[in-house]
Symmetry: C2
Subunit: 337 residues, 2 copies
């Protein structure tokens, strides 16, 4: 009972089940794949695989389906990442190159990924930590309302409205702007809080109060950036897969809608050497997502921002992984320019 053949059997089971959605039996297996042995032998192999917890039978005397553990082994050791076809690559490239600005790129990316994989696509906005301050603008909207705008060198713009407790004068505001701007112009966003602290301490005492609230707002703007926002596409693909999800797709939709949940999910995945990470079914920490798999990877400088897809455990991992990886690469390249 050779080890390599057992893995081959597992691969065959996974592949057949993924595209037939039905438990696969020993007979069907020898028919479809030329394994060179009889069904009885396969049955023996299957018994071992079941003992190892890699496959399971929904009911006595029915075909087998892969377990989460089985998929895991398949992904880690058996499957090859299937390269995309040339036309697909071409399509990705032309689509992404037609984008007008960063937001447009992200929008196109997420749709593309959803279409390519037939799953729900999730894309996190790129990190701006490496960027630095290009400009700061304060606008007095009302006597007690200031609009604060922070423009970074990577072209992202953050804004926020703050309230000041006593009124603030146009002149004071101008002076604060002047001082802060000269102190932090060109400073990296990550270093911004420190510099702002210094600038604040050097403000004339009369301006200290207002300066404080403004500085605090700026720190927040620099800190959270847009990288805590995600884009979704292809949720309709979930509807196609009803039945692949043990319960309903309700909890999954809920999770997708909670950006916080998705962000934590993306950031918590372990990215191995290949850079692409897969969470299979019950490996997912959040309960509502058991029965779902996530395939994700990083992109951009330092692979700091994430992107990926979410779908049923019963998924074509090789092609999906290839698509995710390819999209991430093209996206990184586009963003570099």
């Amino acid at each position: 009972m050779s080890e390599p053949r057992r893995l081959e059997v597992l691969r065959a089971i996974v592949e057949d089940y993924v595209h037939s959605r039905e438990p696969v039996g020993s007979k069907a297996l020898v028919d479809r794949h030329h394994l060179g042995v009889s069904s009885a032998t396969i049955r023996n192999d299957m018994a071992v695989l079941e003992e190892e917890g890699l496959i399971a039978a929904p009911h006595t005397s029915s075909g087998r389906i892969p377990t989460d553990k089985g998929y895991r082994l398949f992904v880690d050791r058996i499957s090859e990442v299937k390269p995309l076809s040339a036309p697909e690559k071409k399509a990705i490239q032309t689509l992404l190159e037609g984008a007008e600005d960063v937001d447009d790129v992200m929008d196109r990316t997420v749709r593309l990924l959803a279409q390519l994989t037939n799953q729900v696509a999730v894309v996190q906005f790129p990190r701006s930590g490496g960027a630095s301050v290009r400009h700061i603008e304060f606008v007095l909207l009302a006597p007690q309302q200031i609009l604060i705008v922070l423009i970074a060198t990577n072209g992202t713009v953050q804004q926020r409205i703050v309230r000041t407790h006593p009124d603030i004068q146009e002149g004071d505001l101008a002076e604060i702007k002047q001082r802060i701007l000269s102190a932090v112009s060109g400073v990296k966003l990550s270093a911004l809080p420190g510099e702002l602290g210094v600038a604040l301490s050097q403000l004339p005492p009369a301006l200290r109060a207002h300066g404080g609230t403004i500085v605090k707002a700026l720190e927040q703007l620099a800190g959270l950036g847009r990288e805590d926002r995600i884009l979704l596409a292809g949720t309709a693909n979930l509807a196609r897969s009803t039945g692949d999800f043990p319960l309903s797709i309700g909890p999954i939709l809920e999770a997708l809608e909670e950006q916080v949940v998705m962000l934590r999910l993306l950031s918590e995945m372990e990215y191995d050497a290949r850079g692409i990470s897969v969470r299979i079914g019950s490996e997912n920490p959040y309960g509502g997502l058991s029965g779902a798999s996530v395939v994700a990877t990083g992109y951009g400088p330092d692979a700091g921002a994430k992107l990926g897809i979410l779908g049923p455990t019963r998924m074509d991992y090789p092609t999906t992984m290839a698509a995710v990886r390819a999209v991430a690469r093209y996206l990184s390249r586009i963003l570099e320019e």
Copy 2:
């Protein structure tokens, strides 16, 4: 066979069906509602209602369910908008008042609406047409890239990156900014294109080319605003209602994801005197949305921006309409400040 009683029967059928999800028969009707007549009489009434196309029987000799036309009559002439409970009102108010800025308000609103109605909530961003130009900022990101920022008095910020064909000099850019800013400062966004045209024609010929591309970008920024963006929440509620939708929820998720579709849908609804508008099942123009109903209303100045919910035809219209209306009112009030 009195007309008022027939309507009463229709109301009873709608109400029972909405909360039992099962076809309702004559016997059950007299049991639950004290109509003062026997089931045979009700049967006669039902026959008439069926002839008028207001109710239908899924199969011969089964209870009746309302047709789209029946719901329509119910909404238009029979039902009363059920006012919210005091705690609910209170909850709305405190939740919305805790918001920090416009984006936050919108986010809270859409979640609130989804939770209140148990349906999918859709909120369009407020129109900024009435606002005027507060400030304009150009940032030279690269020799051929300018970031254009348009800040309006209502606190919304629009930005966009444009490419210039030959390089543009820092000095030229400053001059263009100077001239354009003085020309359009304080101008209403709706009047911006005209003023920009004038300002452009008065630019020195050397700056005309770059000025043109910048002006075009500004016009677009002023024109599209954010009012063509929508926020969604509560898509998970669709999963609960599986079975209420004739086909799958796939097409509905698709439609929701296409902002363009939703925007057209919201804008095309006819808002009557009560200001609240209902589209029932097949009344929806887009095919994928038959089987779904939309309840929407306008909010903000001029009720120009829309907000509403989408759910199965089998919906508790009175409460839903009340919730939509209430949320729109509170939102309008908050935004006024």
